[in-house]
């Protein structure tokens, strides 16, 4: 049985190490003019970080390449990508992505 008091202290520790990286760059950088090169670099962060989080989740399964028919996440990404590209609508893309996954699970019994 774990001590709930110790768990809470651990959670507070987690709060501190999570919050500082969240707040310090905002505090430090939003009040001063950054050099153009730094701004250019930061402007690539959203594209880069979204791709870095997304692509492994689509093509890997438990740390291995999985591009077979059973990797629903990957196959559903293709129509989702297409709809996002054509419509530029977040809602339409999310609905299509979920619809494809739900449909494949119900009809094809995969994923």
């Amino acid at each position: 049985m774990i001590s709930q008091g110790r768990v809470f202290v651990t959670i507070v520790g987690m709060l501190v190490v999570t919050y500082l990286p969240r707040v310090l760059p905002l505090w430090l950088f939003s009040s001063r003019a950054l050099p153009p090169l730094a701004i250019a670099w930061l402007r690539y962060v959203p594209v880069a970080v979204l791709s870095a989080m997304l692509l492994p989740s689509l093509v890997l399964d438990e740390g291995r390449f999985a591009l077979g028919g059973h990797n629903l996440y990957f196959w559903a990404a293709i129509p989702t990508f297409f709809v996002a590209w054509k419509t530029r609508s977040l809602f339409a893309s999310v609905l299509v992505g979920m619809g494809v996954v739900a449909g494949a699970r119900a009809l094809l019994n995969i994923g």
């Binding site: 709930q4 768990v7 707040v23 594209v47 880069a48 629903l72 809602f91």
Partner: protein
């Protein structure tokens, strides 16, 4: 270099135009682009809640999963909810629940959380140019609810125009409340609810990331950056660098982007020079 500063100036122009109100045609177009759920007639807080809905659909089931796992790990209901209220970071909470279950020492749980959540530093830095007019305490509140998903939404939105603080706050608060609600449902009724997989709720956030990535990519260089960074992250994950893979791939990807931008600018400048030479 000239090209970078020119682009910065033009983007600043867009931001300023956006701040003056939703009258500019660019900001209107961008509103349609990023804000299919909210029309400009609604109050800011309603728009914020509406824009949070894709996050809510993803957070409730994932928060639910965390709630179930935390209960199984032996956390009290209070501590289970406290983690969602105080730490508010999905993957770190799921990992921590596993570590608590394995009776890992507190220090290693905190250290793991630090590494897993260090990527927020990049989010915070990347949004800082857009939040110059905000007070320190407003930034402190904003940063508290900065997650992968809220960052993804904000970064698309801020690049187009600056929404009101109320809209941003409403979006962030709605997202976190849905995370806490999901946690509570998982902790209290966890074992009794049937599988959520038939509704594909586990795919909501992936689909949202795909759409937001597509919306972010506007230039050739960004296509290259997205592809290279994604492939690098896959390679690093296969090499088992674990939680560092996202941070390392992102830093490399952004550096490649700036390098390409400088190279292209130099080529354009060289061509111009050659043309002038030819004209003479």
């Amino acid at each position: 270099m000239a090209r970078i500063s020119a682009r910065c100036a033009s983007e600043r122009g867009v931001v300023v135009r956006g701040r003056r109100g939703d009258t500019g045609s660019i900001s209107k177009a961008m509103n349609r682009l990023t804000d299919s759920a909210g029309s400009s007639g609604r109050p800011a807080w309603v728009r914020g809640i509406a824009r949070a809905m894709p996050i809510v659909m993803g957070y409730i089931p994932i928060g639910f999963a965390y709630g179930v796992l935390a209960q199984q790990a032996g956390l009290s209901l209070f501590n289970t909810l406290a983690m969602s209220a105080l730490v508010y970071a999905g993957s770190a909470q799921l990992i921590a629940a596993g570590l608590f279950a394995a009776a890992a020492p507190a220090l290693s749980i905190v250290a793991t959380t630090f590494v897993v959540n260090l990527r927020h530093m990049l989010f915070s830095a990347a949004l800082s140019p857009y939040l110059k007019g905000w007070r320190k305490w407003e930034l402190a509140v904003f940063a508290y609810e900065l997650t992968d998903e809220s960052f993804a939404l904000h970064s698309v939105r801020f690049a187009a125009n600056a929404p009101s603080k109320i809209e941003v706050g409403a979006l962030n608060l709605t997202a976190q409340l849905s995370w806490i609600l999901g946690t509570w449902l998982g902790a209290v009724v966890g074992g009794h609810i049937a599988d959520v997989r038939p509704w594909a709720l586990d795919y909501t956030l992936s689909a949202m990331f795909i759409a937001l990535l597509v919306m972010q990519v506007k230039h050739r260089v960004e296509v290259v950056v997205a592809l290279l960074t994604g492939l690098l992250a896959v390679a690093l994950t296969l090499l088992k660098v674990g939680q560092w893979s996202v941070i390392l791939a992102t830093m490399a990807g952004a550096t490649i982007g700036v390098a390409l931008e400088l190279l292209l600018a130099k080529r354009v400048a060289d061509q111009d020079a050659a043309q002038q030479e030819g004209a003479r």
